[in-house]
Amino acid sequence: MPPAWTPPVAGPVPERGTRLGARAIDLLIAGAMAMPLVLVTNVGHRPFTFLALLWVAMVAYETALVATTGATLGKLAVGLRVVPLDSTARPSAQAAFRRAAVTSALTLVPLVGWGILVFGTLADALTRGMADRAADTMVVPKRTALPIRHRDLPGYADFARPPRLSPVGRVGDLDVRARARLRRLHGVPLLVVLVAVLNVATFLPWSGLTVFVVGTAVWLVAFVVDETVRVARTGATPGHELAGLVVHSPARGGPPSLGRSFARALVFGLSAYTGVGLVLLGVSALLIRSSDTGRSLHDLAGGTWVVADPRLSPEVQRQRAMRMRLGEVA
């Protein structure tokens, strides 16, 4: 029986639409700042000088406003403010600068930068994007009680997005599982060495297709063997362990059997590493994010669930997940 989940005491995080509205207003202001710069720089011959000067202007605007009033004009207009974590004061000039530098740089990179800005705001449980992470700040409704402590962040995350509870425990969230995957090779020296060797092989004078096909096949075999054995033996990969997650098989009441673990590893390997399987990986991501069970295609193949380690208390489960989200684990 999994431990009962108790709702944390925490305040609201801003609506995602409101965040985007504030950003749209600030974009208009940035556009207005660009006009005079067009006149004083030779945009045709020196486009990057123009962009750099615009970046400086945007950073100056945002730094000055956030450090003195706690918000940009866009945020003021929609009733939001920027607050530093663990403090009741306004953001310091240094924090405001860090925030502004990241936001402005992303604003000036069409498509990729805008995608990161919007995705960060929409996907993060606390609506904290890259700029907030760089400056250790958070955007909250104007009347939120301060301070917001680091240790309370899991509560805010659960308030914004209530956890999904399964018969076998709290379901692992997409962002936590994705970050666990980034740490898949911790303490797995053989796979690390294999990655290095394969990447040296890309420089060999063979056709690119040959290197890709052979290299991917070699990697798939090694990865599937490693993943199968680890998950069947301990119910977790190194990334799962860091995130406080386990791969649970309800049929066995613990780690999946070797056969099911193999099926799971094979489907994940084909999805993640073959290029053509990336569509499957996208479907898996959608399933983890949107379904009540949070089970990906490889979970369905293996008859498994990825849930919080039932040996941990609910608070430790939450803190582990948040540490992973904040990049504070390895």
Partner: protein
């Protein structure tokens, strides 16, 4: 191929020298280098008009004046003065005056394109912050400049007769990477690897040794001065050995807990 994105160590101090080097490189490229480095002159089918032609001349003359030319270092004489044993210069737009040895320094702050600049400064950002955090700002600056110098000299010695100009901060940044390898071999670097395509944290030692080894596979027909990268990296590594023994640098060491790869027992 492996492209590093970030490491898992948050610097404990503001890396002022890293910031300053980034700013200086940007200012030089954006404000001091001729505009042709930002937008290539229209090289359509017809001949260039006078204004565009002058932009080309301006850029070529600028490069030959401030970039490192190996045979100039060997002879101590500018290519414009036709020193003995030099290959033919790649352009006939040569500067009237040139301080040959100053180019060892000035070439470190020049870049051929916005991609070149962005790539180099991204590497400097990823590795420079924590090298500075560990060694201190002045020692980091010294390693950057001396390592860059060693990288330039490596380029010179691998082709003593070449009149092709060399420019870019990559040799100096490779020195910073060499120092990082010595300081933080156990750090973890979020890396995009090419085969299999994935983002994954890898030990810094693996990422940096991989970078070093793959330099020797870069073809000589590419525009990459891989010798400078390798030479700079070795120089940075060797310079960091005595630097780490300096009394004030020893006091900047991080606690072992910063490198823990497992979650603490409490959380």
């Amino acid at each position: 191929m492996a492209l590093p994105f970030r490491d898992n160590l948050e610097p404990r101090r503001v890396p002022w020298v890293t910031f300053a080097l980034i700013v200086v490189n940007c200012v030089v490229f954006l404000l001091l280098q001729p505009s042709a480095f930002q937008t290539a002159p229209d090289d359509g089918e017809g001949p260039l008009d006078r204004a565009e032609y002058e932009r080309v001349v301006d850029a070529e003359t600028f490069v030959m004046r401030w970039a490192l030319v190996p045979c100039e270092i060997r002879t101590g004489t500018p290519v414009a003065d036709a020193p003995e044993g030099c290959d033919e210069a790649p352009t006939r737009h040569l500067p009237e005056r040139k301080s040959v040895y100053l180019a060892l320094l000035s070439s470190m702050f020049l870049h051929g394109s916005i991609d070149h600049l962005a790539g180099n400064l991204f590497f400097l950002w990823v590795f420079g912050r924590n090298v500075e955090d560990r060694l201190g700002p002045l020692v980091h600056l010294a390693i950057y400049l001396l390592g860059g110098l060693a990288a330039s000299l490596t380029s010179v010695f691998t082709d003593l007769h070449s009149a092709v100009p060399h420019l870019g901060a990559s040799g100096a940044i490779a020195a910073t990477m060499g120092a990082y390898l010595l300081c933080y071999p156990r750090a973890r670097i979020l890396t995009q690897v090419a085969l299999p395509i994935q983002f994954v944290y890898l030990p810094a030692a693996v990422v940096l040794v991989l970078y070093f080894v793959t330099q020797f596979f870069i073809g000589s027909d590419s525009n990459v001065a891989w010798e400078a990268h390798a030479g700079g990296m070795v120089a940075g590594f060797l310079l960091a050995i005595p630097a780490l023994r300096l009394p004030w640098v020893r006091r900047l060491a991080r606690p072992d807990s910063d490198f823990a790869a497992t979650a603490p027992t409490s959380f």
